[in-house]
Assembly symmetry: C2
Homo-oligomer: 232 residues x 2
């Protein structure tokens, strides 16, 4: 690459990073608002989250287009090419995080008319960790910071523990409140969505760690949690 | 590109397509075997499915490596570049389908010791459709066949209908069998995994349709099902 191409490549990669950061911000908001809609039974807000996912999808499509264009025009070499492929993959992961937030928002209507489901109160803390992991992973990506990436990876277990605790709590709650079984099942699925968001944030953090250090982070148990089986 | 580069590119893209086909075959087997393990309570088989997912992940990593290498060495132009990016994305999607099959297999242990959960019998037909969609989508990809792609897209609704029926059935079953609530919740999650596999196959089929015709398939309702809320 000559100096001109080099500069043009840097501009493209910065534009891509800005698009990822924008997607990340929208996704964090989507998680926040989906949870807010859920806890306040705000169906209108939930619908805005569902509708807003389109913008996240569009940004992902825009990233893909710019990636193809950058590769075609700049013909980046090994490291730059790997970085740009990483951006493409991270865009796809953030898009899926947005889908999980949308899926949470879609479940809000189930709760709007129904009686209080007590264990719902366990979800906001879990959502906060998942959301912070998303922010942490994307901040680490923008700053190419392996230390921040490790901090995200280490929090994944907390989200898994939350998921298992909620699964167990919901099983007991369903036994005691058979009329709330449907709502309770939706809570389980919401917890699962949050667990998946945490897992995806961890994947991003692992990619950041790998691309900035050249090493894989210490093996974590990649097993996604299936929930603990309780015999009661 | 000169003739030599052109031929080399064709060889690379054929190698990539072969890797996708191999991943697809392993994923179909993983779905089959996970369901077989589930219906026969075969924990050993379930563990083999879980262990076997590593190979699917490796193939995805191999595809990514070959994609980067092909782009760097052959500098493919617009259409070829878009095709190779599509291969990268499809590899990522198939890898996730493998994860869903693994997740089903992980739940088998929950059922091994417990009494018969009747609605389990609804799952195999749903799994068969999901598995056929995976095969259909990847066959369409290998043959660049938009007709086969459309056939896959049209079956997505059947999988969604199955999911909703299973969700409703499980809610009723849980009310009548409070001791089976935990196992029943796992069945709901297995149905959800199958629904997601069908959704991912549909995504692949849509990409195949788009790359082979230049047009987007008629809009389907992308809403992933959250399950029907029953008041009983």
């Amino acid at each position: 690459m000559n100096d001109h191409t080099l500069k043009a490549f840097d501009e493209d990669i910065n534009a891509l990073r800005a698009l990822i950061a924008e997607m990340g911000g929208l996704t964090e908001d989507a998680i926040d608002n989906a949870m807010k809609a859920l806890t306040t039974r705000d169906v209108a807000l939930a619908r805005r989250v569902v509708a807003g996912d389109k913008r996240i999808d569009e940004l992902d499509a825009q990233i893909e287009k710019l990636v193809v264009q950058t590769i075609a025009l700049r013909a980046p070499l090994a490291d730059d090419l790997r970085e740009i492929i990483a951006v493409l993959k991270i865009g796809g992961i953030v898009e899926r995080m947005g889908d999980y937030a949308k899926n949470i928002a879609k479940r809000v209507e189930v709760f709007s008319a129904s009686a209080r489901v007590e264990p719902l109160s366990l979800l906001p803390s879990m959502a906060q960790i998942a959301r912070e992991m998303v922010k942490g992973a994307l901040d680490a990506f923008v700053a190419r910071d392996p230390i921040r990436a490790i901090a995200v990876i280490e929090r994944d277990r907390a989200v898994d523990d939350f998921y298992n605790a909620i699964f167990r709590t919901m099983v007991t709650f369903m036994m005691e409140n058979p009329k709330m079984i449907s709502e309770s099942a939706h809570i389980m699925f919401i917890a699962k969505n949050l667990e998946r968001i945490g897992d995806h944030a961890t994947n991003v953090a692992e990619m950041v760690y790998y691309t900035s250090t050249g090493e894989k982070p210490a093996e974590r148990d990649k097993a996604t949690s299936v929930g603990t089986f309780t015999k009661e």
